[in-house]
Symmetry: C2
Subunit: 354 residues, 2 copies
């Protein structure tokens, strides 16, 4: 594997409405120091891939409205590598856009696509898995997904059903996918967890550029045509204008629906590196450092009294005193305050819309 | 009674630490729109006395640090009538200072002294009581206190024990005071409420200027001497300089300790005009308009779900969503957030000090 062919694509266009009001449309969670560690989730994501590809092969795809935030948070990434979507069209058009560009630059490119708002605890293992997957796709037409060993009946994730009867000859850790499963109800999720061949779909994909471009051509000819037509304009002054004109004409569809559930050569690399998509306050609570009363406090001046099982997230300057809460989210940014039971967090999206 | 002799003194130097963080040292509760009605407690206090005395006879005594706030909130009061204490010395030096000044202006002055952070619901009755008391003190050396009919065993107030056996000949509603009682414990307070001759001490006093000056001379000669010495400087350019020099030498003592518990001719006017000193979040809750779930919401953008018996107080701009709280204070200002059970509110002072 020639490491110079490796490209990293980070999708950073989400709006993170489930983490409102910490995450807002103006400043979604990938740009926030959710863990209170001094770096945003996006910055942590870029850091995590260090050594996987040359620095100039890192691509960020985001919404045009977040261009300034991305540039500020990732000054080491040149503006040329920051792709700006004029509107939200889910992951398939996003991946198509960057794939066609990379293909124009290097038809031998080998790509890893990752969300910008996940966390990984065991980074050496993560790097091992990613590198191993890239070696695999460098020499095959495989689409590889990273499947996370399911440790609980999580209803917030999609699942991947693997055929564990035989691993791939060229990589003994990689298996064929039998099916992708949408987010299940609790009963179904419990059944999945009991079986050994179900994995959480991490949304991290590895493929070479020919594979994904061809798959899009076959399964999403409409989207493929848009980015094929734009080929003369990539890396020119006219590119953004053309993107602004044509990107909105793409179908709004996720890469899972668009490709994963349709294509044949889909593989899964079952892995375990302490992953979370941080999709819920509950998962943030689970993945963060807790005090002796099981509270997670993110913010510089938070003081708790007789409180437990809470997640407190505030702006850095805010002084916060909490007394007598059990099992609550307290989230505050400059213009909004939310106090809500953790068990009711699925309603936060509605609260944000009110 | 010549109304031109009537003077109103409003004491506005408190720091309101029990209402932290709504009330802060920089902006204590008397300057805050605690009730969400568009006026601060100080502004409401001034309004409440309308017609009792000429506008130019209204005096505000406050801390030097609050001078700008007072001037902004009460533009109708001339700077000459705003007395600035260089440091906090409780109510006796405050009252002495303004009394000596008024005496220099008008030795026949008749004075009502009131805190700036109380509320009164029945203002016509309040005016009736105050006017009646002023008539009484215009022609006597009496010190009159307003005693509030005790409706519950409140431990946050001092009590006045009256001798109800005989009212004053010149005012049938006014009685001699037998004793002042400090804030009682709950058991004692319950005993007080059962008896008919115990009243809450409202901290509102009526007397003529000779009476209070003489009482201070007799019972607080140290304080009296300070303000006697300053007599040549009142209403001159040198006044503030002298105050800054001499005021700090006064003993730190309340008017209750300094005079009320010592003097002989003390009277009480038992009254009922929907009074509260708003000394606690509980009393704010009690005295404010509640929604159908017994919540008090002060702030423009507060939305509650499955919450009851709460007091929510925020800055005007803040959007607040509360879900699933019962019996809590949620108070927020620009740099601080407090969430605390109403039953634990006596600890807020400690929280503020942390």
């Amino acid at each position: 594997m020639n490491i110079d062919n490796n490209h990293l694509v980070i999708m950073a266009g989400g709006v993170g409405s489930r983490f409102w009001p910490m995450s807002t449309q103006e400043m979604p969670k990938q740009f926030i120091d959710v863990l209170g560690c001094g770096k945003s989730l996006l910055q942590l994501t870029v850091d995590r891939f260090q050594g996987v590809c040359p620095a100039e092969n890192i691509w960020i795809v985001t919404s045009a409205r977040y261009a300034d935030i991305v540039k500020k948070q990732l000054p080491q990434i040149s503006a040329e590598r920051i792709l700006l979507e004029p509107c939200r069209r889910n992951t398939a058009p996003c991946i198509a856009y960057v794939s066609w560009k990379i293909k124009k630059l290097n038809p031998k490119a080998n790509i890893i696509v990752a969300p910008s708002d996940h966390i990984v605890l065991d980074i050496p293992e993560f790097i091992r898995v990613v590198t191993s997957s890239l070696k695999f796709t460098a020499n095959s037409d495989a689409i590889v997904t990273l499947g996370m060993k399911a440790t609980r009946p999580e209803t917030g994730y999609g699942y991947i059903e693997a055929d564990l009867s035989m691993s791939c000859p060229s990589n003994q850790e990689i298996y064929r996918v039998d099916a992708f499963k949408e987010k299940p109800d609790l009963e179904t999720a419990s059944r999945y967890v009991q079986r050994k061949n179900y994995y959480w779909n991490s949304g991290i994909f590895i493929w070479n550029v020919s594979t994904i471009v061809n798959a899009l051509r076959v399964y999403q000819p409409g989207i493929a045509e848009v980015f094929e037509r734009m080929t003369p304009y990539y890396f020119t002054e006219k590119e953004q204008e053309k993107v602004d004109e044509l990107f909105p004409t793409c179908e709004n569809i996720s890469i899972d629906y668009a490709i994963m559930e349709k294509a044949e050569e889909i593989y899964v690399f079952p892995a375990y590196f302490g992953w979370s998509d941080l999709g819920t306050w509950g998962s943030l609570h689970e993945n963060s450092q807790k005090d002796s009363h099981n509270n997670v406090c993110i913010g510089n001046h938070i003081k708790l009294h007789e409180s437990r099982n809470c997640v407190i997230h505030t702006t850095q300057e805010k002084k916060v005193i909490i007394q007598g809460l059990d099992g609550y989210i307290v989230a505050e940014n400059n213009d909004t305050l939310l106090v809500c039971r953790l068990t009711e967090e699925q309603r936060i999206k509605d609260f944000a819309d009110e």
